[in-house]
C-alpha cells in the first residue's frame, strides 16, 4: 500500500493554483489574489482549520504517539 497524497492533493492543488496565477493580471495579482486569500482562504482556515482540524489531529497524536 503506497501513499498517493502528493498526487491527489498537492499536485492537483498546485496545478489549479498555477491556473489562477496565470489568469489573474500580474499587476493586480496582489490585490485580487490577496483579497480572496485573506477573506476566503485565511478566514476558513482560521475559523475551521485551526479550531477543529488541528485540535482533532493533535488529540489523535496524543492518544497514539506511544503506539509505535
Amino acid at each position: 500500500m503506497k501513499q498517493v497524497r502528493d498526487q491527489v492533493r498537492s499536485q492537483v492543488m498546485g496545478q489549479v493554483w498555477d491556473q489562477v496565477g496565470v489568469q489573474v493580471v500580474v499587476q493586480d495579482v496582489v490585490q485580487v489574489k490577496g483579497q480572496v486569500r485573506a477573506q476566503v482562504r485565511a478566514q476558513v482556515s482560521d475559523q475551521v482549520g485551526d479550531q477543529v482540524g488541528d485540535q482533532v489531529r493533535d488529540q489523535v497524536l496524543d492518544q497514539t504517539h506511544n503506539i509505535n
Binding site: 500500500m1 503506497k2 501513499q3 498517493v4 497524497r5 498526487q7 491527489v8 492533493r9 499536485q11 492537483v12 492543488m13 496545478q15 489549479v16 493554483w17 491556473q19 489562477v20 489568469q23 489573474v24 493580471v25 499587476q27 493586480d28 490585490q31 485580487v32 483579497q35 480572496v36 486569500r37 477573506q39 476566503v40 482562504r41 485565511a42 478566514q43 476558513v44 482556515s45 475559523q47 475551521v48 482549520g49 485551526d50 479550531q51 477543529v52 482540524g53 485540535q55 482533532v56 489531529r57 493533535d58 488529540q59 489523535v60 497524536l61 492518544q63 497514539t64 503506539i67 509505535n68
Partner: protein, 287 residues
C-alpha cells in the same frame, strides 16, 4: 484575464467564505455513496485509477487504527492524512475563482471539492482510501473558538472526543473534575497554566495561596486589593471584586499605575482596570 473584481464578485467573497466555513464545521454522518463517488473523482482528477477499496472509519482515531492494520503498521493517520473538510482553506480559495470568475481550467479541483462536501478526514493510498466520519457535534464560544465548559467540545459518534477551553485543548480531567491548583500552576506550558487558572478561577487560587490583604474597601464592588506569592511565578497583585451578577472575580493588577504611582488601595486598583483615576471612579463629596 481577471484584473479586478466587479461588485458581484466582491459580494461572492463573503458568500464563498461562509459556505466553506459551513462545510468545514459540518457534523453528522457522511453520505457514503456520495463519498465514494467523490473519492473516485479525486483520484481521476489526479490521473490515477480509483482505489480498490474505500474504508470508512468512525473517527480519525479509528482511521489511525485501520490504516495501521491494513498497512501492517507501515502507515498511520498522522503520517498519511491528506485532506479534510475542516482543512479546506485552499479548496475554498480555488472554489471562489471557479464559481465567481471566468478563470478556466480549474476542473481538476472538483474531486477535492466534492470530498470536502462529503467526508471528514481522508487518507489517500494507491489501493485504499480511508474516509472518516465527521464529528457528531462541535461546540464553540461566542467568538468562534471551539469550547465547552462541561464536556467535550468536539465529539465523534464512536466516543472519540476533544476537550477544549476557548480554543485551547486541555486534558479531559480539567473539564470533568477541574485542574489541580498546584499541578496546574506548575505546568511548563504557559498557555495551559493560564487556561488552568481561568478554569479554576483566580479567586480560588488566591484563597489557596493565602493571599495577603493590602486594602479592603467597604464596598465589595470596589473590592479588596491582594498580594500573593505564587510558586515559580513570584509576587503578584490582584483585585478581588464582587460583580453585579453576584459572582466574585479576581483580576490581576500591576504594582504601579500607568504613571508609575504605587497602587495601594482597592479603589485605585479598580479605577486602573477602567483606565481612569480613583477620584473619577468614585467622586468624593467635599464640604
Amino acid at each position: 484575464m481577471l484584473d479586478k473584481l466587479n461588485d458581484e464578485q466582491v459580494k461572492g467573497i463573503e458568500v464563498c467564505r461562509d459556505k466553506w466555513i459551513k462545510v468545514g464545521l459540518q457534523t453528522g454522518p457522511v453520505d457514503r455513496d456520495a463519498a465514494i463517488v467523490a473519492a473516485n473523482k479525486a483520484y481521476k482528477c489526479a490521473g490515477l485509477e480509483p482505489p480498490r477499496e474505500v474504508v470508512f472509519c468512525s473517527s480519525p482515531l479509528d482511521m489511525d487504527k485501520k490504516i495501521r492494520e491494513i498497512s501492517n503498521n507501515e502507515h498511520n493517520f498522522l503520517s498519511s492524512y491528506g485532506f479534510a473538510n475542516c482543512w479546506s482553506g485552499w479548496v475554498a480559495f480555488i472554489d471562489y475563482f471557479h464559481t465567481y470568475t471566468d478563470v478556466k481550467n480549474l476542473e481538476a479541483f472538483e474531486g477535492l471539492r466534492d470530498l470536502s462536501y462529503n467526508c471528514g478526514f481522508v487518507s489517500f493510498f494507491d489501493t485504499h482510501v480511508f474516509i472518516s466520519e465527521r464529528p457528531e457535534y462541535i461546540k464553540m464560544d461566542d467568538t468562534g473558538r471551539t469550547h465547552c465548559e462541561n464536556g467535550p467540545a468536539i465529539r465523534y459518534a464512536d466516543g472519540f472526543e476533544v476537550h477544549i477551553w476557548h480554543g485551547v485543548r486541555v486534558p479531559k480531567s480539567w473539564i470533568t473534575d477541574g485542574p489541580d491548583i498546584d499541578q496546574a500552576l506548575h505546568n511548563s506550558n504557559l498557555e495551559l497554566r493560564r487556561v488552568a487558572s481561568e478554569i479554576i478561577g483566580w479567586a480560588k487560587i488566591l484563597d489557596h495561596y493565602q493571599a495577603e490583604v493590602i486594602d479592603e474597601d467597604a464596598d465589595p464592588q470596589i473590592g479588596t486589593l491582594l498580594r500573593v506569592n505564587i510558586p515559580e511565578v513570584g509576587e503578584e497583585y490582584f483585585l478581588k471584586v464582587l460583580c453585579g451578577t453576584g459572582r466574585t472575580f479576581a483580576i490581576p493588577v500591576p504594582e504601579q499605575d500607568d504613571e508609575g504611582k504605587r497602587i495601594n488601595t482597592a479603589l485605585a486598583a479598580n479605577a486602573w482596570t477602567y483606565g481612569i483615576k480613583p477620584w473619577e471612579y468614585k467622586p468624593e463629596v467635599r464640604t
